[in-house]
């Protein structure tokens, strides 16, 4: 078991390293848009474009050999030195840390809600297969997974913000900063939470239903019934528990990807100054270091998530053989 965990951790490190390397290569082969911009600016202001380029390369260490640049790049990232954000005039990590709370404010409730509600509905559907509720839930789930979340957000803003005026249209950072746990903050976070949860609930529900259905029909559930287990015990011990094994995969893999991607869009739509918004602004302003930093955050969350998922799997499923993978 311990050996297995060590191997998984080592693999996660390899993955992170390979991703860093590939990103470096991409940076190398693509034209640096900042260079063009600098040269253009220099030419406009009567300076020498070549000199501007040299200065820029000097500053960024681009005149060193490829290998040196590569090792420096990797060490920097490993040491937590993620570069300098030109637009925010602060280190990339500081910028990320500063915006992280805003992202957590709405994504943490969304994760909890979508997991609990999604799984709950999914299990209920599976246990009441072929009933009207089941059909209704399945149909609603289709809407949930199909509705484009950024458009859904806009529609909610249009209906509940513009037309009905129930929720504010503009996110006020001051409220989030000073009264994090207030009703006012909840009010401005409500719609983002709804948007983020909708897709995740639907996805969760579909998976939970499919997985639970397999176990509802399983022989060992019949054994449990024959023993005299009923109701909640039946559900929690004999159906839910084995269902957790495959569901853990879903939670980390698909759900995480979904949430990370949606959160960027949600932040842009609702104007929440979180990591997603930071990433978006960095892209628009061509702040390459910040773009890389904000992209690596979800990547590393995903690497760690995959690792945790593999370990959770071995804890949850006694059948797994540690020799595999």
């Amino acid at each position: 078991m311990r050996w297995y965990v060590i191997r998984r951790v080592a693999w996660a490190a390899v993955v992170a390293f390979v991703i860093l390397t590939i990103t470096f290569l991409f940076l190398e082969i693509t034209p640096d848009q900042q260079v063009a911009q600098l040269q253009f600016q220099a030419a406009q202001s009567g300076g020498d474009p070549e000199a501007a380029l040299d200065a820029y390369e000097q500053r960024r260490g681009l005149n060193q050999p490829l290998w040196d640049r590569y090792t420096e790049y990797v060490t920097n990232y490993v040491q937590g030195n993620w570069g300098w954000s030109d637009t925010r005039s602060e280190p990339v990590l500081d910028a990320i840390v500063a915006s992280l709370p805003y992202s957590i404010m709405y994504s943490a409730p969304s994760i909890v809600i979508s997991t609990v509600v999604g799984m709950g509905i999914g299990l209920y559907s599976a246990l009441n297969q072929y009933t009207k509720t089941d059909y209704a839930a399945t149909f609603v789930a289709f809407f949930g997974i199909s509705i484009p979340n950024f458009w859904f957000g806009i529609m909610l803003l249009l209906i509940f913000g513009e037309t009905l005026g129930w929720f504010p249209i503009i996110f006020q950072t001051s409220i989030a900063d000073t009264q994090t746990f207030s009703l006012a903050n909840l009010r401005q976070l409500f719609l983002p939470i709804v948007v983020l949860s909708t897709g995740a609930i639907a996805g969760n529900m579909r998976y939970a239903r499919a997985e639970a259905l397999e176990y509802v029909r399983a022989e060992f559930v019949k054994t449990a019934r024959a023993k005299g287990a009923t109701g909640w015990r039946m559900l929690s011990r004999h159906i839910l528990r084995p269902t957790l094994v495959p569901l853990s995969t879903l939670l980390v893999g698909d759900l995480l990807g979904l949430l990370l991607a949606s959160s960027l869009l949600v932040e842009v739509v609702f104007g929440i100054p979180g990591v997603g918004r930071l990433s978006y602004d960095a892209i628009i302003n061509q702040d390459t270091d910040l773009v890389l930093g904000t992209v690596f955050i979800p990547v590393f969350i995903s690497v760690v998530g995959n690792l945790l998922q593999d370990i959770a799997y071995t804890v949850l499923d006694p059948r797994i053989s540690y020799g595999d993978r």
């Binding site: 054994t223 023993k227 005299g228 287990a229 004999h238 528990r241 499923d317 059948r319």
Partner: protein
């Protein structure tokens, strides 16, 4: 004569599917008395597994449904207990209309005592105590059945590989069974579980308590399942093909174990199988099922010695070492969604006459001079039963020859290429 412990009366179990209603069990009667072993024999799809799972209603409902029929469980203690627990759902059979309904004859649906909500049927009281009565399992709600399931009536299943929950240790699963039916604390339950494992022949039981099912072999898993079934000394053990998935030597060991335990605990066994060899070995009484109906039932010796029903004859002739030609019953099981009129076996029966194709399944006629009942028109008035008491294979050949396929050609002759042993999932 004392009442049987379990009486299945006119049981109909159906499944509602996209392709129509599957009448898996279509009106059968089975009795199991204390301490005896009753075997239900039949091909795959004859409804024997569904019958066994209908008794304690462990089959999935929906899509399963029992619209007609009664399953009486006559354990006075359970009746008293449930009568206390569900006082509003007790029905006292009045003396004036009591004797007929409680006896052995089949009450049609409308004659069942009480209405839908009553499931504890009290037939006699001595003073305030209930002295005779039964629980109608078909009407009983889940929270009443949970006491009986595993407590009084235990199950073991065909496939030990999938009957244990893979994410729990075997110890945990047996302890659960113990604690569901007793107030034992964890320590006591654990000890009881180890005793049980020991009892069913798991070597080094205490050490294997914390092992997971995948660490056991198939035969050992089946022993674990038996241990689990024994957790609260049940009165009846329903064993659904418990040896089919195991190899031959292990099969014999498991059968021996069951016989041994039965002797120790005096429990009744309802054994579901398609293997007549096993039946001969363990049964006291046999019920032969075909397409959701009972063809013949009786004491095992009588039935093996002088099988009365053409289908039983055919089955027995299939047994190796029985002399005679190996026979294959032409044709296949009739449609379960839309069963034919008359005798279910008629399309494949070499003796079938016009009466066999009309009306309902023939009633159960008693066989003279034997403890046997049979559903075949030839045992009724105006027929000569000796006609069907010939070798099935010979009869098949004869009809084929003399009729030149005139009548049987339509029924049995054309589709002989399909074997009886059409295997598939049961039900």
């Amino acid at each position: 004569m004392s009442d049987p412990l379990i009486s299945v009366k006119n049981l109909h179990t159906q499944f509602h599917t996209d392709d129509g209603t599957v009448r898996a069990v279509d009106g059968i009667d089975v009795d199991v008395s204390r301490g005896e072993t009753v075997c239900i024999v039949g091909e795959s799809g004859s409804g024997k597994t569904v019958t066994s799972e209908s008794i304690t209603k462990i089959l999935q409902m929906p899509p399963g449904d029992i619209p007609i029929g009664e399953v009486q469980f006559r354990d006075v203690e359970s009746v008293r207990e449930l009568a206390d627990q569900f006082p509003k759902r007790v029905f006292d059979v009045h003396e004036d209309d009591a004797p007929g309904t409680a006896g052995t004859d089949v009450p049609p649906e409308e004659d069942r005592p009480g209405d839908e909500k009553h499931f504890v049927i009290v037939e006699e009281r001595s003073g305030d105590r209930i002295s005779r009565g039964y629980i109608d399992m078909v009407r009983a709600p889940d929270n009443a059945l949970r006491k009986i399931r595993g407590g009084d009536i235990a199950h073991i299943f065909q496939n030990p590989q999938s009957a244990l929950n893979p994410v729990y240790t075997v110890g945990w699963q047996i302890v659960e069974a113990v604690q569901l039916h007793s107030d034992d604390d964890d320590e006591a339950a654990r000890e009881r579980a180890i005793d049980l494992l020991d009892r069913v022949g798991i070597p080094d039981a205490a050490a294997r308590f914390d092992d997971y099912p995948h660490e056991f072999s198939g035969g050992m898993k089946q022993r674990v399942i038996i241990a689990m079934a024994l957790a609260s000394n049940p009165d009846v053990l329903i064993a659904d093909e418990p040896t089919t998935a195991l190899d031959v030597t292990i099969q014999a060991q498991i059968l021996d174990l069951l016989a041994e335990i039965q002797e120790d605990l005096g429990m009744a066994i309802l054994f579901i199988t398609h293997d007549l060899g096993v039946v001969a070995e363990i049964a006291d009484r046999v019920v032969v099922m075909y397409a959701g109906k009972v063809m013949e039932s009786g004491e095992v010796f009588d039935l093996f010695e002088s099988p009365a029903h053409p289908y039983t004859r055919a089955l027995l002739e299939c047994l190796p070492g029985r002399g005679g030609d190996m026979v294959s019953i032409g044709g296949s099981l009739p449609s379960v969604t839309n069963p034919p009129d008359g005798c279910r076996f008629a399309p494949r029966c070499p003796h079938a006459v016009d009466d066999c194709f009309t009306g309902d399944q023939p009633p159960m006629y008693s066989v003279e001079g034997a403890d046997q009942e049979v559903s075949c028109v030839f045992y009724g008035d105006g027929y000569d039963e000796s006609v069907v008491q010939t070798e099935f294979a010979a009869a098949q050949n004869r009809t084929a020859r003399t009729d030149g396929g005139r009548t049987t050609g339509r029924r049995a002759g054309t589709d002989t290429d399909e074997s009886v042993r059409s295997d598939g999932g049961d039900r």
